[in-house]
């Protein structure tokens, strides 16, 4: 609001997803550490819904949220890395390197919530809603992958925060504020802003994601 002329870069659903997944990642982590497994299931299922929503939004969402917008050939990423650090920002959305970071993050999150559905704890007492489809040993493998992908996520998050700090310190780019307000005053005026997907698509994507997550929580009951 402070800079109404700033170019719009992230839509509301993308920003909501971002901060919600931060919250539920931390909640899932802490609840697992403290053994509050009821909370862990609830938090994990919401995270599943969020990830499903983001994957759908990556296909039908606003321009900067789409995979076609930010998944670029590796050559583009290399060219971006070799380019001048002080080049003016004339395009909105993820840069070609950041796009790969989003892909890695979403992949790791998908593995995380996916394996959680099938995971079984060492005692066979706690288990995900789809674990009845696999054996005890297979459920233990899922739990093992669940742990590996969690550590991978911690690494990716650390990299994410380091990249934000790097942009702030070395390139004077403020990346956190646009993820809150949706607008980026540092993008050159006149740059083509975000093309919004509109509320109807959002409702459809959210309903599909929530429905799928709920269905998974029932053990795919029909």
């Amino acid at each position: 609001m402070s800079a109404p002329e700033a170019v719009k870069v992230w839509d509301v659903p993308t920003r909501l997803f971002h901060w919600a997944i931060v919250f539920f990642f931390v909640l899932s982590w802490r609840s697992a550490e403290s053994g509050a497994m009821d909370w862990h299931y609830l938090s994990g299922l919401i995270a599943l819904g969020l990830v499903l929503f983001r994957l759908i939004w990556g296909v039908i969402g606003s321009s900067t949220a789409r995979f076609t917008h930010f998944v670029r050939p590796p050559g583009a990423a290399l060219a971006y890395l070799r380019g001048p650090a002080d080049a003016p920002v004339t395009t909105v959305g993820h840069n070609p390197v950041g796009g790969y970071s989003v892909v890695a993050m979403l992949l790791a999150l998908s593995v995380q919530v996916g394996t959680g559905l099938f995971a079984v704890d060492v005692d066979g007492l706690e288990s995900g809603p789809l674990s009845y489809l696999v054996s005890f040993d297979q459920g233990r493998v899922a739990a093992g992958i669940h742990e590996v992908s969690f550590n991978l996520l911690l690494g990716l998050i650390a990299l994410h925060l380091l990249a934000i700090a790097y942009y702030r310190i070395r390139r004077s780019r403020k990346l956190i504020v646009p993820m809150i307000t949706g607008r980026d005053p540092q993008v050159a005026a006149g740059a083509a802003g975000l093309a919004s997907a509109g509320p109807l698509r959002f409702v459809l994507a959210a309903a599909a994601a929530a429905g799928l997550a709920w269905w998974a929580s029932t053990g795919l009951a029909y």
């Binding site: 079984v120 060492v122 066979g124 007492l125 288990s127 009845y132 005890f136």
Partner: protein, 150 residues
């Protein structure tokens, strides 16, 4: 159904062998025993969650748990703890606080026997609460006598 009849003797035989075995063998046998117990618990939870309370799988799992609960008394011979330098989640407290550990084993054995009876009775609410209590008796012991996070 028939499978449950040989499970007890096999576990018993394994436990008997463990007494005469090296610490490494004992620990391997113990881990195998608990893996089978974990699998039986998973079956219990799967069938209870699905509302499949008359399932022969549930009866079989309850029989397996109850057999393991009887056999576990032989799973902890002296020298099979952390001092054996083998990788084990068994804490030294099992032997230093032997009386307490024995009481925890008795509690589990009691719960397991009761649960087998409850399953045979076929009352849904009783089976659900019995499964919860049985799980709680496991956790009660693990908190004190097992290395966490494994």
């Amino acid at each position: 159904m028939r499978r449950s009849f040989w499970i007890a003797p096999v576990l018993l035989l394994g436990a008997a062998a463990a007494v005469a075995a090296t610490p490494a063998d004992t620990i391997r046998g113990r881990v195998a025993g608990y893996r089978a117990l974990g699998a039986a618990f998973k079956t219990t939870n799967d069938t209870v969650r699905a509302g499949d309370l008359a399932s022969p799988r549930l009866r079989q799992a309850a029989a397996q748990i109850s057999a393991a609960a009887r056999n576990q008394y032989a799973w902890y011979p002296a020298g099979s703890g952390p001092q054996s330098r083998q990788r084990t989640a068994a804490k030294a407290e099992i032997w230093t606080r032997g009386r307490e550990f024995r009481a925890a084993q008795d509690a589990f054995a009691r719960q397991a026997t009761a649960f087998e009876r409850i399953v045979a009775g076929g009352n849904a609410a009783a089976i659900r609460s019995g499964a919860r209590q049985l799980g709680a008796s496991c956790k009660g012991c693990h908190d004190t006598f097992r290395v966490s996070d494994d």
